[in-house]
Symmetry: C2
Subunit: 413 residues, 2 copies
């Protein structure tokens, strides 16, 4: 019988073998004493199995509250556990409850983080993956593989009228933007009702497409309960839009899956709340596992933060996330990594150097909107930065050669 395998980073005051056995027990048998009915045959068929243990080191203080044992050190290790597909079949919420359920509550651990997991071949028959993925999303936005999609976020997040926003989109379109998105804080607000915003913005985008043949991708934030999302989704489709944005953690897996299955729009997966799930080095979930869960739902675009971002996430973590998006998974080659947070073009050089890819959606919010030559200057500066980075030029050379990028360096550098 096929098995599912998961890797955890753990910390424990106990012997690692003993702690790993507790983890496997809790996540398959699930009680603190032996009970009748738990035969050896059942155990063999349904019990989780510890497949590998790699000790990483010892620390003298626990990373989190847990069992405190006097005069003990705490061992950090990488542990691989497996379950039979029979335990849950192709039920992803139950898979999630198995991979990251009650095990975080176990006293035996002073640290526990799900790092990655592997699914067997048969999952390919049950999950088609994203409808558009990296390639399909770039095609929808008329962007080739030779450069990243350049995008921006409408700021301030909440408060602008649909008219103001639509005018801004017009300016950005004329300056060569590929992608614009609502902020995650804006769904339908007092002065920007969803349907009105879609109407006004899509008029600008459709007019521009009629003139130039290029349809800007706008990620309308359809986040809400399922009825709201269905209505908003249909509004976008009817208006000729190509993308919908969802706050995936706030909506949850079942809701996101349902909307992805509609199949007509590229889905922009916004992972706000990520810090809560990932920020502690030994609690929660790492991006490779997180990303797979959402690829199973069908998300096409996935946030990864950016190099030298304004948040806490390290450059190494960002690079790992980008690579994770570009690693084939089940039926799907790649989702497009959404690079953002404090980006202004200056980070294009390091981003390209470390990832050697242009298959990104590269977004700057303030970096475009607050550019000294206005939003149009901001967009030009980003194109200049990426073209130069791909050619192997340095930031300094690019600043000298291009006026708008030079202005960015003065303001944001």
């Amino acid at each position: 019988m096929e098995r599912i395998q998961a890797t955890y980073l753990i910390e424990t005051p106990y012997k690692v073998e003993q702690a790993a056995a507790v983890l496997a027990g809790e996540q398959s048998s699930g009680t603190f004493v032996s009970v009748p009915g738990e035969t050896d045959e059942l155990k063999t068929r349904f019990a989780a199995r510890v497949e590998a243990i790699e000790v990483l080191g010892e620390v003298s203080a626990p990373s989190m509250p847990g069992e405190i044992i006097d005069n003990k050190t705490y061992t950090q290790a990488k542990v691989t556990v497996s379950w039979s597909v029979e335990n849950f079949g192709y039920n992803i919420p139950t898979l999630i409850s198995t991979l990251q359920g009650n095990l975080y509550e176990l006293r035996q651990f002073t640290g526990l983080k799900l790092d990655d997991f592997e699914l067997p071949e048969s999952y390919k028959n049950h999950f088609k993956g994203p409808n558009f993925g990296m390639k399909g999303t770039k095609e929808l936005a008329s962007v080739g593989l030779e450069r990243p999609m350049i995008g921006t976020i409408i700021k301030p997040s909440v408060g602008l009228t649909p008219e103001y926003t639509a005018n801004l989109v017009k300016t950005l379109a004329e300056a060569g933007i590929d992608f614009v998105k609502d902020d995650e804080l804006l769904a339908s607000s007092g002065n920007s009702p969803f349907a009105v915003r879609v109407e006004q913005i899509m008029k600008v985008i459709n007019d521009f497409a009629d003139k130039t043949g290029k349809k800007i991708m706008y990620a309308f934030n359809i986040t809400g309960d399922l009825d709201t999302m269905k209505t908003n989704y249909d509004t976008v489709v009817k208006a000729g839009g190509t993308c919908a944005m969802m706050s995936i953690n706030s909506i949850g897996w079942a809701g996101v899956k349902q909307v992805c299955d509609f199949g007509e729009l590229s889905i922009h997966g916004h992972r706000n709340g990520w810090g809560m799930l990932n920020r502690h080095p030994l609690l929660g979930i790492n991006f490779p596992a997180y990303n797979k869960i959402w690829r199973l739902a069908g998300v096409d675009q996935m946030h990864v933060n950016g190099i030298k971002n304004k948040f806490w996430e390290s450059d190494d973590a960002v690079v790992r996330s980008i690579k994770s998006c570009h690693t084939p998974f089940l039926n799907n080659e790649s989702v497009i990594p959404v690079v953002s947070s404090g980006q202004w073009g200056g980070q294009a050089f390091e981003t390209y150097k470390r990832t050697q890819t242009t298959n990104l959606l590269y977004m700057a919010g303030g970096g475009i909107m607050a550019h000294p030559s206005g939003p149009a200057g901001g967009v030009r500066a980003l194109h200049q930065a990426w073209d130069s980075a791909v050619k192997g030029m340095t930031l300094e050379e690019t600043a000298k050669q291009y006026k708008e990028f030079g202005e960015s360096v003065v303001k944001f550098g």
Copy 2:
């Protein structure tokens, strides 16, 4: 205009006022520089406002990775922030993204935990709350207000056949159980397909109800994608069941809301994964806020761990959670707290002493199943414990007076 208020526990190396302003800014304006279009009128209408700051103390080391400033101490504080209802209306996923979105990513904090939030009156017009709540759920299970519902979890979690499980339910029903549930790891497994399990178990429960007038509540784990949940829900309704269980974190808010809205079954909210969201003292979310989010979806029964549980959660946190379930919220008086984890009846005395309530669903898994006189003895022991605790007897007195509870003390005490 009405405002929504949220309270956070924070830790920061900066001045608390400055850090709180960054939080409010990120969660309403949302960029790292001032941008055109952000007028004073817009700011007044849509900006988040810091309402109160209470400094709690100073620590010399940060609780989490974040901005590290040499020779600095880190201030811990309670901060209250408010938003206008206009920002998101009655869109709960967007409310979640506002209350617990990107703010966890801010470098300015070395700790940040959402503690509680308050919604204005107008929310009563948009959310009816749980369909059954505490009272309705107890009524469905024919249990009065004078004692807790006594429940158990089928263990081992995965592996038993529907026949074996149904026989176990028969034994438990005859012993006086009120409530039985699937484990969260079991939805539909290789040897226990969902529909077969429902059929076999409901036959036992319906037969017992025909004979005695008492219908045992069984929480069938319907967790899955939306289509699966709809099918499973209908299967339970058609078989005459009264309850469905959902792994709420794994399904997510939109999916849970949709299922609660079906309105025919009491919804058992299983919060597996809670440790990931709450275990660190200064990261994530505390129960009062968490509980309100799920009451808005319509969950009737909410897990709270138990006194002296097998997990890491403190007794104080458990008591606070029980009280939170019993605090009226919007149109709803109370959801029923599900007390579990390493319970065997011995904790009934402390639980009653500290909460003075019998409006609980009190569950023991191993504590019932592994009882020396079998599951029937385990159920009797739990009833003995609770009857005695409410009468003011001590554990020792109860152990002397009742055979089955005495056996529990020898085995589990």
